[in-house]
Symmetry: C7
Subunit: 231 residues, 7 copies
Amino acid sequence: MPQPLPPDYMAYDRTIVVFSPDGRLLQVEYARQMVKNGTTAVGIRIKDGVLLGAVKTVMPLAVPNSYKKIWEIDDHIAAVSAGSLADARSLIDQARVRAQVNRITYGEAISVSSITKYICDRKHLVTQYAGVRPYGVGLLIGGVDETGPKLYETEPSGTMIEWKAQAIGRGSDKAKSVLTKGYKDNLDLKKGTELLLKSLKSGEKNVKPENISGVFVTSEGIKPLSFKEVR
Amino acid sequence: MPQPLPPDYMAYDRTIVVFSPDGRLLQVEYARQMVKNGTTAVGIRIKDGVLLGAVKTVMPLAVPNSYKKIWEIDDHIAAVSAGSLADARSLIDQARVRAQVNRITYGEAISVSSITKYICDRKHLVTQYAGVRPYGVGLLIGGVDETGPKLYETEPSGTMIEWKAQAIGRGSDKAKSVLTKGYKDNLDLKKGTELLLKSLKSGEKNVKPENISGVFVTSEGIKPLSFKEVR
Amino acid sequence: MPQPLPPDYMAYDRTIVVFSPDGRLLQVEYARQMVKNGTTAVGIRIKDGVLLGAVKTVMPLAVPNSYKKIWEIDDHIAAVSAGSLADARSLIDQARVRAQVNRITYGEAISVSSITKYICDRKHLVTQYAGVRPYGVGLLIGGVDETGPKLYETEPSGTMIEWKAQAIGRGSDKAKSVLTKGYKDNLDLKKGTELLLKSLKSGEKNVKPENISGVFVTSEGIKPLSFKEVR
Amino acid sequence: MPQPLPPDYMAYDRTIVVFSPDGRLLQVEYARQMVKNGTTAVGIRIKDGVLLGAVKTVMPLAVPNSYKKIWEIDDHIAAVSAGSLADARSLIDQARVRAQVNRITYGEAISVSSITKYICDRKHLVTQYAGVRPYGVGLLIGGVDETGPKLYETEPSGTMIEWKAQAIGRGSDKAKSVLTKGYKDNLDLKKGTELLLKSLKSGEKNVKPENISGVFVTSEGIKPLSFKEVR
Amino acid sequence: MPQPLPPDYMAYDRTIVVFSPDGRLLQVEYARQMVKNGTTAVGIRIKDGVLLGAVKTVMPLAVPNSYKKIWEIDDHIAAVSAGSLADARSLIDQARVRAQVNRITYGEAISVSSITKYICDRKHLVTQYAGVRPYGVGLLIGGVDETGPKLYETEPSGTMIEWKAQAIGRGSDKAKSVLTKGYKDNLDLKKGTELLLKSLKSGEKNVKPENISGVFVTSEGIKPLSFKEVR
Amino acid sequence: MPQPLPPDYMAYDRTIVVFSPDGRLLQVEYARQMVKNGTTAVGIRIKDGVLLGAVKTVMPLAVPNSYKKIWEIDDHIAAVSAGSLADARSLIDQARVRAQVNRITYGEAISVSSITKYICDRKHLVTQYAGVRPYGVGLLIGGVDETGPKLYETEPSGTMIEWKAQAIGRGSDKAKSVLTKGYKDNLDLKKGTELLLKSLKSGEKNVKPENISGVFVTSEGIKPLSFKEVR
Amino acid sequence: MPQPLPPDYMAYDRTIVVFSPDGRLLQVEYARQMVKNGTTAVGIRIKDGVLLGAVKTVMPLAVPNSYKKIWEIDDHIAAVSAGSLADARSLIDQARVRAQVNRITYGEAISVSSITKYICDRKHLVTQYAGVRPYGVGLLIGGVDETGPKLYETEPSGTMIEWKAQAIGRGSDKAKSVLTKGYKDNLDLKKGTELLLKSLKSGEKNVKPENISGVFVTSEGIKPLSFKEVR
């Protein structure tokens, strides 16, 4: 049985998205906390593409890649999530449909910023209306379009920020320090993968390379990363 | 009359699905607890098929198989449930219709992953909107399609994971230990059934073979298991 | 005026169907308690039919059979209820319409399992959506169709179980003991009626044969039982 | 200004119709209490018809029969109410329309049981759905149809019972004792009216014959009773 | 700023129309209290018509008759209100439309009882459904139709009573005593106006004839009363 | 950050428009308090027109007349507001559309009473239904139509009163005293403007003529007042 | 995990937009507090255009201008926001569509006041209806249309004010003092930019020119400001 909660928690159970007296949207902040509770995920914009990586939860009998946190959205766009897997799956499904609709309607691949904006609009909507809860998931969306490699973050409020490199999840504070120190523009794949691995490991205890999964998103497709070669 | 609940419980009765300050969806966790309160159920992917088994509640005057926890979804897909039987029946009914629609629309049997995704979408939806509660049931869905034997788990949040072998319900912790130790790829039917029986018994007290029911899902149909022969 | 309730009850008045932290649906359990508060009802599957019986509340000026707990659904299906009479009447009315629709649509009588499933679907639906309460009534549904005599129980959660013999209501625990000891397959009408009477009397104080009503549901129709002859 | 209510009452104000832990529908029970707070009303099935009577509230300047508690539904059916007059008026209006629709649709007068069932369906519906409160009124419905004289009671839960004689309202307990002792089948009008008067007076303090109104419902119409002649 | 309310009031703010354990509809009773807080209004059925009178709130700069409590519904029907002026205006507007629709549909003036019933139906409806509050206004409706002069009262529950003479508002208790003592059938205009004035003055402190307004509703129209001539 | 509110306030935040036990609609009274918190506004009916005036909030960098409290509704009707500027803007916009619709539909200017009634209907509606809050604004509406100059007040309950002169807002008590003493029928423009200025200044501290704005509504249009010439 | 909130906050979580007893709309005030928590933003109307500036949050790995607070609405209109970026993005998107619709429908650019009014209408609407929360963002909207340069402020209540110069966000009090002292009509670009920089720096600690972004909105388009040249 789950642990009994202290009495102070009782009021929050009943909350819809409203402002607190100090001007905060508490339900959105709690959804952010669910993201913060997830395993660490990192994205890095490098030369010719974007690296996305995540720490895998160790489950010996699970089929590899089934409990995945890296999602393909289109041939040229992928995402890595922290927080609710079910919320991530729902948002990614909507984004995949949106990407296909773009191909059919305009005859071309959707841009990374457009797909991110679409997801942010969904996320924002549910923070404004009653009867639905915020999405408890953060996404780092990486892709390559006509404007080059792009990395975006979406979080539960629906805010959209473009990053050179960013980390989310429980180890994000330490991972961001590693990224800030080590990031340089136009890193090559080897250096980028090293930085990805280092930042992911900084925020998680005793994580081994085989517990990390990653992809390299390029204009030619999404390629799995092999961390054993690195280091 | 049911036992009086301690005052701390009072707030939870009134809850819709919202976040707690520490980033959890309490109603979803309580629904998971209902799954955890159910009798143990186990699924194992073996050579040429999937084994599903469950402990039967002993009710001398009930018609055998009427209070069942193993459900046929289509000729090639079955499921075993832990938690609310009524919720299970409702979800399985929806899945059966979905499977038939697939046959009619595409002229072929639905894949195990598609039917699982369909059930997970239903489960996720009711965790996001007010006015409806989460499903209080976990399902292990086993089947054989063009990609071979497949075993999936769905739980109240709508998360979908593929397993080689998995256990749910009140004895799931002990049953998982047995599975982790004993599982090997491509077990034959005899060895698989032995593992199924052993894992089911590990988590329940004094359970006898006649209190256990199971099926072997193959590409040629769903066959009942006979546990008396085993051991 | 009704007795003042202790403060602990106050929270429950405001409840919709949601999970408690220990994984229970409280409103469904309270509805079950209403069934448990009702007078005892018993059903027994015997040779060529099903016996249904209930204890009548003694009301000297009431017209006999007006405050009835045994309901005819179709020529070949009847039910006995424990709990809310008003809820029972509403469900039975819906089931009667459903049975007639089956005759008109398919040109044949509905099966006992189909009509039970229909009632269970109604019961389950109202446990999942806000804005409507669970049905506070249990039904034992007996009938004879192409598969022979059948006895089903439905309770407020929408769970559906097939029984050889079953009891519901305030005396159900004692009545079930009597049934478990005395039940045999293919009892004849005389022995079956004796068992029905014995089980009904076991759970109620000082009940006399004239306070008990019962029917024998056969493929040729529903016949009232005469308990005075028995014993 | 109304009396301040004790703190224990505060929770009930906010209640919709839900179950209490001991399996009661509190809002329905409180609505029954409103019936119980009303002035006494009595119905008696006699030879060739049904007697309905009620105690009139003494209001010197009110136009006689304007604050009435006896209602004509159709030529052959009347009702007496206890509890909310406004709820009674609303229900009776619906029943009158229903009775006329029956005449137009089927070319014949509606039966007493059909009109009662119609009212009970309305009453039951509002006990099951949120957003509407139960009817706070009880009705004794008397009439004569092809099956002879009939007397039914409806109460806030929507339960429907047929009576030989019945009393509702604040004096109902004492009035029922009088009815139980004095009732005989096929009483003539004089004896029936005496019993009606005696039962009504038993439950009210210092009530005089002129404060009692009553009708005799027959197959030839509804006739006012004169209580001065009696006694 | 309004006076701080004692803590006991806090629960009532959140109330919809539900029953209290002692069988009362609290929101309806509080709406009645708003009527009781209004200035006194009186209606008297006299020879050939109905007198309606009200105490005017003294507001020196208000345009005479603008803050009125006497309302014309049709040529032959008027009303006097106590309680919310805004609620009165809304109800009267609906009644005026209803009266005109009657003229157009049936080619004749609506009866006083029909228009009162219409208003009572509106009032009752809002006591039964959530999401709308009761009307906080009482009306005395006077008119002359084919059945002669008629005086009705409607109060927040939707109850409808016909009176020979009646008073509502803050001075109604004292005014009713005056009416009960002084009322006689078929009073002439002079005697009736004297009784109206006397009853209105009995329940209000230091009210002067010029602070009282009144009308005489006849079959030939609605005529203002001059109170200076009286007394 | 706003000041912490005392615990007694907590209940009011959650209120919809319902009655308190003493027969008051609290949300409407609190909306009135918002009007009472606004700067003082005054209206005076004079010879050939209506004067409307308001105290301007001193904001040195605001564009003059942008933070305005005097609103033109049609060529012949203007209004001055106290309370929520956003609510005022919304109501005035609706009134302007209504006025134009009248011109198009009937080919003539709308009367002052009709436009006021329209606004009052809007205001009343939101006091009766849940899911929407009352308007927190009071309006003095002045205009000239076929019946001559007219001045009306609307307040949050939807009550409509016609005045010779009236004041609303934080200084309304003192301003009304000045108006009551100084008002005479058919004041000329100079005397009227002096009275307007005097009453506005009486209720505000240290207000200078340049902080007051006003208009003279006539049948020939709405003309700004110059207060510097006065006094 | 977020800091535990003191018990006094508990009530506010559950609030919809209703009045407090002292006539305030608390949810709107809390939304204003979110604006007040944002970084400082300033707008100044100068000769031939409007200057808009904001302090940038320092995030080393963010792509410059991606976490932007200055938004282009149309060729001739821009806005600077303080508060929720997600709310700002949603409102600006709606305004952009509105501006394009104007061009298509009327063949001309929308005026600054029209686009501001449109945004204010959206903001006001969500303060009046339940089920949706106020926008937690303030906007300074600057543009040049046929009436010359214009600067408007919109805040969460939906109030609309035109300014010569205005500041919002956490440093707005100090920034307004700087603006009030330094503002003159028809400042040239150099003097205006100096005032913008000075006011922005006054309310933020240790802000450097490179952390400030700004635009000059003219009739010929929106030009970025270079703050390094200034000072």
